[in-house]
């Protein structure tokens, strides 16, 4: 067990006009996660501290927050990797509702924009629509996205253009466009090819740096760009 000073940015819209820092002193074992520390603070020190968490095992994406200046999952951040003075802020890039809870509404709306579901007008076979291992491999990484919102919130293009779809929604578009069972590539490309879409990605890699599932999001966005280019050239050639 080691002592930690957790400096947390707090904001209660019913009381505060501005966010303020509050420091909590706790002890954590090296293999405890930051989330364990936050739960202990809420349970034993200050019940008013508000944050989201659901599964606590890196699958739901609820506990995404900015930890020492980087969007991360609190449940995947081990105490042994933290400095004694650790700064915890709400997830960068989203409006704060209270303390560490942010409004993800716009994030999920953008996700819906790319039609995140299988579209295939062909009649379904007797059993499931089959896919070869190679075809599955192509979308395997993109499927592991847990939609925690860390990537989009860490993207400088998104900081400057809040209408930008962001890496998460583009990755979702990739996941269906490159799915061999899907038939709506053209419609989806139309959804992402606009002023606030695909070409706003400037290869900054901030999304890749923060992804808790270690998805090379930029690589996927680049594949979409190449596809969009090929489609555009094909249309021009007639």
């Amino acid at each position: 067990m080691r002592p930690y000073r957790l400096k947390i940015l707090r904001f209660d819209p019913s009381k505060d006009s501005n966010p303020h820092w509050q420091v909590y002193q706790i002890r954590m074992g090296e293999y405890e996660r930051l989330l364990d520390g936050l739960i202990r603070i809420k349970g034993e020190i200050d019940g008013t501290l508000t944050f989201r968490r659901s599964c606590a095992h890196g699958i739901c994406g609820s506990c995404a927050m900015k930890i020492n200046g980087k969007n991360s999952l609190a449940c995947q951040t081990l105490a042994k990797d933290l400095p004694e003075e650790t700064v915890v802020e709400p997830l960068q890039g989203y409006p704060v509702i209270r303390d560490l809870v942010v409004d993800m509404g716009e994030f999920f709306r953008k996700n819906d924009e790319v039609m995140p579901y299988l579209i295939n007008p062909e009649p379904p076979p007797d059993r499931e629509r089959l896919q070869s291992p190679e075809e599955q491999q192509r979308i395997l990484q993109s499927i592991t996205c847990i939609m925690c919102g860390s990537c989009t919130g860490a993207c400088p293009s998104y900081w400057l253009d809040r209408q930008y779809l962001g890496p998460s929604a583009l990755l979702k578009a990739y996941r269906f466009i490159f799915d061999s069972r899907d038939r709506a590539t053209k419609e989806r490309l139309r959804k992402i090819l606009h002023e606030h879409g695909l070409w706003r990605c400037h290869t900054i890699y901030n999304c890749v740096e923060v992804c808790p599932k270690e998805i090379d999001i930029t690589y996927h966005i680049k594949a979409l760009k190449r596809l969009a280019l090929r489609e555009a050239l094909r249309i021009r050639q007639g």
Binding site: G69, P156, T203, Y219, K222
Partner: protein, 114 residues
């Protein structure tokens, strides 16, 4: 709003700033060239170019061109789907290449007989 400066972010900033500087430079370059109509004025200009301030500026230009070009190759490779996983290694390799080329080019500009 403070956020950690990752390698890719620094590379992007370098690319933006050097891109802007090169865009401004090209106008300066064309402006100077467009005034070179007489042999005399060419000689005068060359004399000016050998003054220390211009030599240092030339070294600066070399740095800007190298940084923009080398980092541009890194981004182009990623565009082609090559080595995206190794973008950080690519950046630092590029910076090493930059240092080598910068010294090789900068030393003759400052101390050479060009």
């Amino acid at each position: 709003m403070r956020y950690r400066w990752h390698t890719g972010f620094v590379a992007w900033l370098i690319q933006r700033v050097t891109g802007l500087l090169l865009s401004l430079y090209i106008f300066l370059h064309l402006y100077v060239l467009s005034h070179l109509t007489e042999p005399d004025s060419y000689e005068n200009l060359m004399e000016l170019m050998h003054k220390p301030l211009f030599r240092i500026s030339e070294v600066g230009l070399l740095a800007v061109v190298l940084l923009h070009g080398i980092n541009g190759i890194r981004v182009s490779l990623a565009d082609l789907g090559l080595g995206s996983r190794y973008q950080k290694v690519a950046f630092w390799t590029g910076m090493f290449l930059f240092m080598v080329l910068f010294i090789m080019g900068g030393v003759p500009i400052i101390w050479g007989e060009i």
